[in-house]
Amino acid sequence: MDTSFWILQLLNALQLSMLLFLLSVGLTVIFGLMHFVNLAHGALYAFGAYVAATIAASMGYWVGLFIAPLAVAVLGLVLYQFLIKSMRSSGPMAQVLVTFGLIFALLDITRIIWGDLALALDVPEILSGRIDFFGVEYPAYRYFVMFVGLTALVLLNLVLNKTQIGAMIRAGVDNDKMAACLGINVERLFFSVFCVGCALAGLAGAVAAPLLSVVPEMGLEILIPTLIVIVIGGLGSLKGAIAGSLIYGFVQTFGSVFAPQFASVVIYLLLAFILVTKPAGLFPAKGG
């Protein structure tokens, strides 16, 4: 177990964190701005992966990566118009139940469209090799995952904190009635935020697909880690999503190095500890 081993594990932890960040950021953005718990997020992620795999099969990986977020955003648009909009004011319990049901509906729709067999999605040629980093060979695609995660973080941060739209969103979060009085169309704002959140889920699906496997139950399996990330980090904040992802990624990776027999328990212990000491998570959103 020399230095290269530890560098490798460090990269593994970073890579897993970034993947989780991509997954959880859409969920946390929707929650933070709309106070809407969208448990179907995992199903949207699976849908993104399926779209990416289908398109990549005929038009190549990059087209798939581009189309998948758009397709999932369109699906989000449909869901919003027909379901979410009328659920906006109906309280968290009803929202959780509806979106939980949506998971299974979407899961079966995925089955009906694509069948039960796993789909193939290979890493694109240009990213299929390995990159040497201080004598440690690490898969290029995993660097790409980190890059996409970081880019999403930087862009979202810029939009939310430095642009006028960001200011409007923040105003809507702090006090939506006052924001509406000031002439901001809060409904439309939230609607576009919801679509962006869905698109992020689709992007995560497309990015994760070549690394993991494209099977119908993938959305269900990813839901728990995603929820853990945003509960640890604090619901609704960008800072919380990145902090939660890093904590999960590092605990999971180094947990499986030092105490493999406890690998699946450590993260739950941490979750329990955080819920006891800081019930709102590490960096909860200020608004609301």
Binding site: L212, A263, S264
Partner: protein
């Protein structure tokens, strides 16, 4: 008076006998048609249907299909329905070992023959065997034990093992390590990864790499297998440390989703679609024509052979639950995977095993059979039938 009573008793007897003949043999098929094992359930069902069509032609058979959802609780309810309400004569199916474990006592108590088509838990035909439960797929230990000896004989000295942390994972790995060490091999390390919770195998692969092993031996199935094989390849581990394992790692059912990452992986299993015998060729051809050109997998062959065994039993005169159970325990025939029989000591299948390498043939992935290992009986343990 006495005479009429006798005559009426006789006619009643004749009537009931002819009624029994007129009544079809009811087969309850209990497979996961939804849930995580849906692909496997459908594959087994396709194999079973093909087998019945071929060997059961002319037999009076009625199916009752139920979705187990691979859920032990729901499966018990469905099995009760099949046995008590539908009054099936025989049951077949089961993918998950957890379901097999949950059903065992009920099936044993109800005295309904059950032909298992996947669930590989050793105890089903070991310590908790039953004269009513037979298995046409494999036991976890059975498929891995001969591979330990074979790998040691082929010059592999140090092995690192990886498998998911649940019963099947442990039984598969223990089956392998026992014979591998007995043949002079050394296990330099190993890890059981959290079952269905591990998305990123990176941390474990880094450990395997640092272990200095000649090869990695592993068992994963389904989505986990796809992710594992792809990630193993992406780290470039295959170059210095080839990947071996039980054949579920590169099952023909989902090997295409693994793509080129699966090339060069050598695995052992009771079936590969490229086994060279006439019966298998015919089976593969028929299966392909019914399934859009897709080759059958080890799951399909288990269903197919279970159907053949059941058809043989019914043709041999077995009509009710008891006689079917008895006939199944004695069955033996040649099938796509070679000569198979049911072990009278445990009711588990006895079958040859095949070591195969996944290779690329043009654009397609296929299985190159490297060696055939002799069939072996499982240790009976505390089982007495």
């Amino acid at each position: 008076m006495k005479k009429t009573a006798m005559i009426s008793a006789l006619t009643a007897g004749i009537l009931s006998a002819s009624m029994a003949n007129a009544e079809p043999t009811k087969i309850g098929v209990l497979l996961p048609f939804s849930g995580v094992y849906a692909a496997l359930g459908k594959e087994i069902d396709a194999g079973f249907a093909l087998g019945m069509e071929e060997f059961g032609a002319g037999l009076d058979i009625e199916y009752v299909r139920e979705d187990s959802e691979a859920d032990p609780g729901k499966s018990v309810a469905k099995a009760r329905k099949l046995v008590l309400q539908d009054k099936v004569d025989v049951m077949t199916g089961l993918v998950s070992s957890a379901v097999a474990g949950a059903l065992r006592d009920f099936v044993h108590g109800a005295k309904v023959p059950l032909l298992i088509t996947n669930a590989g838990d050793n105890s089903v035909t070991g310590d908790k065997c039953s004269p009513y439960i037979s298995r046409f797929s494999f036991s976890n230990g059975q498929i891995n034990r001969p591979m330990g000896t074979w790998m040691a004989q082929n010059g592999i000295k140090k092995v690192y093992t990886l498998a998911p942390d649940y019963t099947a994972g442990r039984e598969m790995i223990e089956g392998f390590t026992g014979t591998f060490e007995a043949a002079g091999g050394e296990i330099v390390g190993g890890e059981y990864t959290p079952f269905r919770k591990t998305k990123d195998f990176g941390p474990y692969l880094a450990k395997a790499k640092a272990s200095g092993a000649d090869a990695v031996y592993s068992f994963y199935a389904g989505g986990e297998a796809i992710a594992f094989v792809k990630q193993y390849d992406s780290f470039g581990l295959g170059e210095g440390m080839p990947l071996y394992g039980s054949g579920f790692l590169t099952s023909p059912l989902y090997v295409n989703a693994e793509g080129d990452a699966a090339v060069g992986v050598t695995t052992v299993l009771h079936y590969a679609p490229t086994i060279d015998n006439e019966l298998n060729k015919a089976f593969v051809q028929k299966f392909q024509s019914m399934n859009d050109g897709r080759s059958p997998s080890e799951f399909a062959v288990a269903g197919y052979d279970a159907a053949q065994a059941l058809a043989l039993a019914i043709k041999g005169g077995a009509t009710d639950r008891a006689s079917i159970a008895q006939a199944i325990s004695k069955v033996s025939f040649s099938g796509p995977r070679g000569m198979v029989s049911i072990d009278a000591k445990t009711n588990n299948i006895v079958q040859p095993l095949y070591v195969y390498e996944t290779v690329k043939n043009g654009d397609k992935l296929t299985q190159k059979v490297v060696a055939q290992l002799p069939s072996e009986q499982d240790p009976a343990g505390n089982c007495s039938l």
